[in-house]
Symmetry: C2
Subunit: 388 residues, 2 copies
């Protein structure tokens, strides 16, 4: 039996298809959106019929946000570390070990409960597709366990055993990478779509990161990389060399990095809420975009460097601090996030696409930057259980 | 008949009284708060009794936020101006005329509807006391009308006829100030508690601003001033000279300004969301605080330079960008706002104070900065109709 849902009385509908509407975002005014069995059937003028009708009350409707970078499986928080950092302590990622200890010590059903709370919060904030990484287990059992939790909620699961060296491997980074690439990968790969590594001074170097990516590729996983968060380094160029779907952070880029991104299919994913919460400078998004690279914005939700699920906050910061236009920021959290996950079924609202949408309590998408801090997401369409 | 409300199972209760709890914020852990007939009766350990019980579920409870600077009576929005500014257009306050035209053209019942929507949004975001200025009428009828609307919702109403020179007075600023100080003041004063002026290059100069403040004082109004938003100028020192309750913005301060503030009872009110949305530098809050001045943080909610009602957003920006500690930021939106309105009954939760409180979906007040963009206000206590 087919079930149709009509979102009617839409003030402005962002389709992300410039062939069907105005501008790069393909905006249709005074529109309706028909979603049948979870997929977009049609966009049209206001007044369409369907089994269920939602009144957008003149608000803007956008594709549901695609948050392509989160670390939702964790226990505990690090509010004290944040407060100390704001008082002048530097950020070096070392606090990851605190979360690893807490996560290892937490029963699986409690991890499920915590992840569900965070997913509900993200969903209320407009996110309809989410990537979830492991990386707070850092041993065979707990990495696999974290991914088993994550795969209950999303198909976009990422094995990040190479997040940071666990304290029990202090001084033996190559031994740990050996474990990640073999036993830990074997246990984790059945529950993961992607593999990732943190290629950064203080985490893992270029050769170690390459070894992880190559092992993941051999195990059938897609590739992504953390890089260039705290300084320039090998990350971006390694990601491009390996054909990663995305390289994430990109806060510190050289001309050569930008050139490499522009000549590749690797998406540059900015995580400005992390730069906010670690008081890093913001990435130079303008140069990356103007060079022709594809960009995404994601929350990086995690308890150490970026404890937010708010894509609206990321948009506002990207516009104010990174000089992205509002249209570019909207594309980056929809089409950009989809590209970073190599998905073509999400991030746009055109016939056949997933019927994941956000209804704003505001007449235009500009308000997401114009009204910082105001929770403007009136309703998120795309059931919480279907976080795929 | 007395009615008592108990907020129970409070993880951490911010009383703002260091004699009853830990630290400058006077924090009591595992607490309850008893509110009788709208006033705080007692704070104590969890488990108190009352007619109505609200379970804080281990969350943090704070005094309701005091937003001491808003311009809520207006029609229309200026999203396009914001977008143009983010693309490089400078901000000079000139867009105030756009809002004036829209506000003058809007029927009074529609202005009421718009103000109520914004108050409801602010209340959901934790604000329990709000100041509302006129300033988009800029003629005798519409300034008085704006204040008549505002006084339905708050006792903290401010006559801001000297917001900007209306276009019909182009080249005749002194004539307009004459109008403000006489006929407009006479019509407005019955509906206002405060008088305010925008003392800034491009708005009104020192002598004009002083004339407005003195006329207001003679009419029995309390004094406040906008100053030092877009550059250094006479604002802060004029405010101190006149004994204003608060001087608002304080984005550009000289050493002499800071010295004047520190030696006065005038509160320095920072409006960082305006600096965010106009891409101004942020005020040097550290120097002001370290010099010993009293500071407040407010939203400056208005459609041109700061279209937010989110005090949480202001806290996060104040911590990240202005290097205020989280405790200082919390004080600035509670006790600081109260001081800026010369109120002693709000901004703290001690016996006899107004029973206005915010319950967070978070265990500590640190989360208001640690979790930027996340709507953490679970419930606001203090009825919307009692916005006083």
């Amino acid at each position: 039996m087919t079930e149709s849902l009509v979102i009617d009385n839409i003030g402005s509908l962002i389709t992300n298809d410039p062939t069907v509407g105005r501008g790069a975002l393909g905006i249709i005014e005074n529109a309706s959106l028909v979603i049948t069995d979870g997929a977009v059937e049609a966009m049209g003028p206001a007044g369409a019929n369907g089994d269920t009708r939602i009144d957008a009350k003149g608000g803007c409707v956008l594709p549901g946000f695609v948050d392509s970078h989160t670390h939702l499986v964790f226990a505990g928080d690090r509010a004290e570390e944040f407060t100390a950092r704001m008082a002048g302590e530097p950020y070096d990622g070392g606090g990851i070990r605190v979360t690893t200890d807490a996560t290892r010590a937490t029963p699986t059903d409690e991890l499920h409960r915590l992840v569900r709370l965070r997913l509900a919060e993200a969903h209320r904030a407009g996110t309809t597709t989410i990537e979830i990484k492991s990386g707070y287990g850092l041993n065979v059992t707990d990495e696999a366990r974290s991914l088993e939790v994550a795969e209950h909620y999303t198909t976009e699961t990422t094995f990040l055993g190479a997040h940071l060296l666990p304290s029990e491997y202090e001084g033996r980074a190559d031994d740990y990478i050996e474990l990640v690439c073999n036993e830990m990968l074997t246990a984790s790969a059945p529950h993961a779509k992607w593999i990732d590594a943190f290629c950064e001074e203080g985490a893992f170097d270029e050769d170690q990161s390459r070894a992880v990516l190559e092992a993941g590729r051999a195990a059938g996983l897609g590739l992504r990389l953390h890089g260039n968060q705290l300084g320039t380094g090998a990350g971006v160029q390694l990601a491009v060399e390996c054909g990663c779907a995305s390289v994430d952070h990109c806060t510190h880029l050289t001309d050569a990095d930008i050139e490499a991104l522009a000549g590749s299919d690797t998406v540059a994913t900015f995580l400005p809420a992390a730069d906010f919460s670690t008081r890093q400078p913001y990435p130079d998004a303008r140069r990356v975009i103007d060079a022709g690279a594809t960009v995404a914005l994601a929350s990086n939700c995690n308890p150490g460097s970026s404890y937010t699920t708010s894509i609206s906050f990321c948009i506002a910061i990207a516009v104010r601090e990174m000089h992205m236009t509002i249209d570019e920021a909207i594309q980056a959290v929809t089409l950009g996030g989809a590209a970073a996950l190599q998905r073509t079924d999400i991030g746009h609202l055109t016939p056949g696409a997933s019927g994941h949408a956000v209804i704003l309590a505001a007449p235009s998408h500009h308000h997401l930057a114009y009204r910082p801090g105001v929770p403007l997401i009136r309703q998120t369409i795309g059931p919480l259980g279907a976080f795929v």
